[in-house]
Symmetry: C2
Subunit: 295 residues, 2 copies
């Protein structure tokens, strides 16, 4: 069997186009664009690159981008002051604090300061709790993107067996909540799991989010399984070049799986598209409008 | 094999005694007792009985009990007014709104009004989110009691395979979070699960919380599994008497399991003990004291 390749770039382009249409209607009726503020603390180069692509995508979707680059030495109090200012700014619908933050800053204190209605990353405890309870919430972008890829591939997920490998707050745990809401039987596996190959093998859906390159082998998969690979680690090759690798051994897995996301070009593009989606949804909710359809 | 019976009554008595000791020290140092307010709306007889036993246990632990019985016709605004008053009352450390509420009241609106620091039921989205993220939280009493029974039986749960059958906000979902934090590989199964016997059979720990009497059969269990039965449904017998039944077919299960909670006398007593535990913990946190040890 050779797996279908799940084209995250195409799915993301499609979602971004629909977000753009919704943003255009919002601009017409509200006489302003949905606005996303991005806060980047310090000079961490990968973070700077992420922020650049987020800003570019925000503008391309016809939304307003507010960039706040502040020095690594900024005190926690000053950073919280900036968050308060963005919370109070009516033109800001979404606030994204690029992680990681410098070590002298308490990350939770900052994330918890963001107004939950503007928390487009979905990291605030209120949004985490609302997702779990089944209330309207802003949901973390990467697992939301994974869910959309799965639904695009499979339609209704009801009754399927799904495993999430990894239990981070940013991906693994919210992913499990989303799959449970979609009526999957959900298993969360992690570093303490005794028989990871055995656990993976009994599932129809495998979401890998551990950050360990090629941990999951092709021989671990149930034939026909749908594999979503969140990992993307830059690994030096024997010839000295560096290659982006996922958590799944792609070549082997593609022989066994029914469908699989490539790295790059799978989950990555969906994360940014879902950030735009969350921003335009937040804008609608903040204005008391019904959620835009089809996003 | 004949299963050990997990004595929830003894475990609850032990926990209540320790809570009583902590409450006594609190009274000495703070010159007041930890206080629990219970709100009962309407005349639902099982709710009234629960509330009576909660009040009795509160007093026995040397804590103060505030009882608020209000008529079923009370408006949502008046109920929320009462919650606000209890939130503002410094002698109240815990607020428990007995569920179910009358149909004209939006349950989430009321539960979300309770100050998260007094939310001894652990139902507020902030506490749900904090539990998921791994921050200090007030955790729902029934799953917390189940965890304590499991730890009493097994010690460290790390690496064990656990299944939670049922995905309610009150038991199933927080139970899964607690087991994940305890380093179990956790599966959540429910009404849409395709092969429930197969899922149950591969787990070392089974927590049943679906409210369907004797759904889980002895033949479904892995020999030696530890079984925690949250179900308690009153079912009419052929002779016209009514019997309290769990979600697990106890007689059969006791032949296969390594240990099992009886119904009654298993999980039930631990729920009230954990409510007292949460109240005394809330009192400490509200006073800026470190969490009492060993609870």
């Amino acid at each position: 069997m050779t797996a279908r390749i799940i084209d995250g770039k195409a799915a993301a382009a499609d979602l971004r186009q629909r977000v753009g249409q919704v943003a255009a209607r919002f601009r017409e009726t509200r006489s302003r664009a949905p606005g996303l503020a991005v806060v980047l603390v310090g000079e961490h180069p990968p973070s700077a690159a992420y922020v650049r692509s987020k800003i570019k995508a925000t503008l391309e979707a016809g939304m307003e981008s507010f960039e706040h680059r502040i020095p690594a030495e900024t005190s926690q109090a000053d950073l919280i002051g900036l968050i308060d200012q963005l919370n109070a700014d009516a033109t800001v619908d979404g606030i994204l604090v690029q992680l990681p933050l410098p070590k002298h800053v308490d990350e939770q204190a900052v994330l918890t300061r963001v107004d939950p209605s503007k928390d487009v990353d979905g990291f605030h405890p209120v949004n985490v709790g609302r997702l779990s309870i089944g209330l309207d919430a802003l949901v973390p972008c990467t697992p939301l993107g994974c869910l959309k890829l799965l639904q695009g591939e499979l339609g209704d997920l009801s009754g399927m067996d799904a495993v999430v490998v990894g239990r981070s707050n940013i991906v693994g745990k919210p992913m499990a909540q989303l799959l449970l809401q979609a009526n999957c039987t959900v298993t969360v596996a992690h570093s303490r799991t005794r028989d990871l190959p055995g656990v993976v093998r009994r599932n129809d859906i495998v979401v890998a989010a551990v950050g360990r390159p090629e941990l999951i082998r092709g021989s671990w998969l149930k034939p026909g399984a749908i594999v979503i690979d969140v990992g993307q680690e830059r690994v030096e090759q024997p010839d000295g070049t560096r290659k982006l690798l996922g958590d799944v051994a792609y070549g082997e897995a593609a022989e066994v799986a029914g469908a699989i996301t490539p790295v790059p070009g799978g989950v990555g593009p969906m994360t940014i598209a879902c950030l735009l989606r969350n921003t335009v949804v937040a804008a609608h909710r903040r204005e008391g409008l019904p959620d835009p359809e089809g996003l």
